[in-house]
């Protein structure tokens, strides 16, 4: 069974607005895959991720996570499996210290303190920030905040990770660190970004959205080398390829 299944997914923001943001999307994601979702600003990358998390429920067509339709009655199950990393980390981190924030999810799901502690430590270890546990959130750098956001989701035990522009506002070394950490994580990863170099380093499969439809779905290297296709969609060749031809 596919982890994520979309069939003829359509979405518009309000019933009154005739224009669909997403028009007839069909795709499925298997276990262990990491998928990049690319496209110009406003093409609906974030919208797609939000539909999967159940934040936007008024879609048409079919969206399933692990066989559960994304609907109100299934949200509890779905949200334990799937985590969403916001573009703006400050929206995601609302507790005072790193430890408290990472423990927020597990505690909400009613886990015992011993187990919470174990999970938090594991999540901090996976994201390599064990040393930050007692730090105040507002004293973290942008890169650290991003890692704490990811740890907060790993601690719940989610193995489907949705990330919205994870590399935005990161300096090169933080970015590199994040790439390594994402590569080491198991499970499904879906990364929406227009940082194509980042996608190249983290995803083997890429979906290019254009005008609300899928313009390309396949091997990352293939699409990222296709200059005409990228430029037609407001994107440019990744720097890594620019000087190769």
């Amino acid at each position: 069974m596919s982890r994520i299944e979309l069939q003829h997914l359509m979405f518009r923001y309000k019933r009154q607005q005739p224009e669909y943001v997403l028009k007839d999307l069909c795709m499925s994601v298997e276990d262990g895959q990491s998928v990049g979702i690319i496209g110009p600003n406003g093409v609906g990358k974030s919208t797609l991720l939000k539909i999967l998390t159940g934040l936007l429920l008024e879609y048409e067509g079919k969206a399933c996570v692990d066989g559960f339709a994304v609907q109100k009655q299934n949200l509890d199950q779905i949200r334990k499996k799937l985590g969403y990393v916001f573009q703006d980390s400050d929206s995601q981190l609302f507790m005072n210290t790193v430890y408290e924030d990472v423990a927020f999810g597990p505690l909400n799901y009613g886990m015992k303190e011993d187990e919470v502690k174990m999970r938090v430590e594991k999540a901090l270890c996976q994201t390599r920030i064990e040393n930050l546990a007692d730090r105040q959130i507002y004293r973290l750098s942008g890169g650290e905040k991003k890692l704490v956001s990811i740890a907060g989701i790993l601690a719940i035990g989610s193995d489907i990770l949705l990330m919205d522009e994870p590399s935005a506002a990161l300096d090169p070394s933080n970015r590199e660190n994040l790439i390594e950490i994402i590569r080491d994580l198991k499970g499904v990863k879906i990364i929406a970004s227009h940082d194509l170099d980042f996608i190249y380093d983290t995803c083997e499969r890429t979906v290019l959205l254009s005008g609300g439809r899928i313009a390309f779905d396949g091997d990352t290297k293939e699409v990222l080398r296709n200059r005409e296709l990228l430029e037609a969609n407001g994107l440019r060749l990744p720097l890594s390829f620019r000087f190769m031809n």
Partner: protein, 265 residues
């Protein structure tokens, strides 16, 4: 320094103090809150002219400042404006109450002088007691204590959220003010033309952020109340702390310790 910057600095200072690994930080916040409130009630209940008895209540502060290793200098520097305000208010008493109560080697002591002193002591003690409470307790700990005292969950969650976003907002306001002043040299504040849009822009952005914050809370299973972690409180010490202070303060309030001590000389 600007108000916004100094506010950010204050928050950092208080957090640092509360997080430091001192004796005081391991006592359950509830014990500290109850003792502080008990202390405040006792101090305020002193009669206006019972100055020496009132002065005795300073023992509590002295002990906590020394044992808790809290810097007295920082406390006074942080609270100096407040003390000044209290002083002004107390000065009114000297002017309005000139009845001579007794003479000290010829110097006429009026009721107003005594009541000013007592007002000053009471205010100072109260401010310092509250300061000591926060110097050893994080806002999170305070909220935990409030929750145990059955303050409704929604209010406690609200306080935690305000506190968490406070630094973010202060920084944002400071940035905006800086950007504004860079383009408006010579101005001290925001001009009337920009009154609405300056704070309004910030407000709209805050509301957008609020929406995202809520989304991210629900995505991690938020059910309407923040969970609290049981921390490293030393329960037995906390109970001993609360009970012994409770009794000691009551004794200080009820019995004229200083007269006894002075009488023994």
């Amino acid at each position: 320094m600007d108000k916004l910057d100094s506010a950010i600095q204050t928050i950092h200072q208080m957090e640092d103090m509360a997080e430091e690994n001192r004796f005081f930080c391991h006592i359950h916040p509830l014990a500290k809150v109850l003792v502080t409130l008990w202390y405040l009630v006792l101090v305020m209940s002193f009669d206006t002219y019972n100055l020496i008895g009132l002065a005795g209540m300073s023992l509590y502060l002295i002990i906590l400042f020394v044992v808790g290793e809290v810097s007295v200098k920082t406390a006074f520097r942080r609270l100096r404006l407040l003390f000044f305000g209290i002083f002004l208010l107390g000065a009114a008493n000297v002017i309005f109450d000139r009845e001579v109560l007794f003479r000290l080697h010829g110097f006429a002591v009026t009721g107003g002088m005594l009541s000013m002193l007592s007002l000053f002591l009471k205010a100072g003690f109260a401010v310092l007691a509250a300061y000591l409470l926060m110097a050893g307790t994080t806002v999170n700990g305070m909220c935990h204590a409030l929750r145990i005292m059955h303050v409704p969950g929604i209010l406690v969650t609200l306080v935690l959220l305000i506190y968490r976003y406070l630094v973010l907002m202060l920084k944002e306001a400071a940035r905006m003010r800086q950007a504004y002043l860079l383009r408006a040299p010579g101005q001290k504040g925001v001009q009337m033309r920009a009154w609405g849009s300056f704070a309004g822009q910030m407000l709209l952005r805050s509301m957008e952020r609020a929406e995202q914050v809520f989304d991210s809370m629900t995505l991690r299973g938020f059910q309407g109340e923040f969970p609290f972690l049981k921390r490293r409180w030393r329960m037995r010490t906390s109970i001993v702390y609360a009970v012994s202070w409770g009794i000691a303060l009551f004794v200080l309030r009820k019995f004229p310790i200083f007269y006894i001590a002075g009488g023994l000389l």
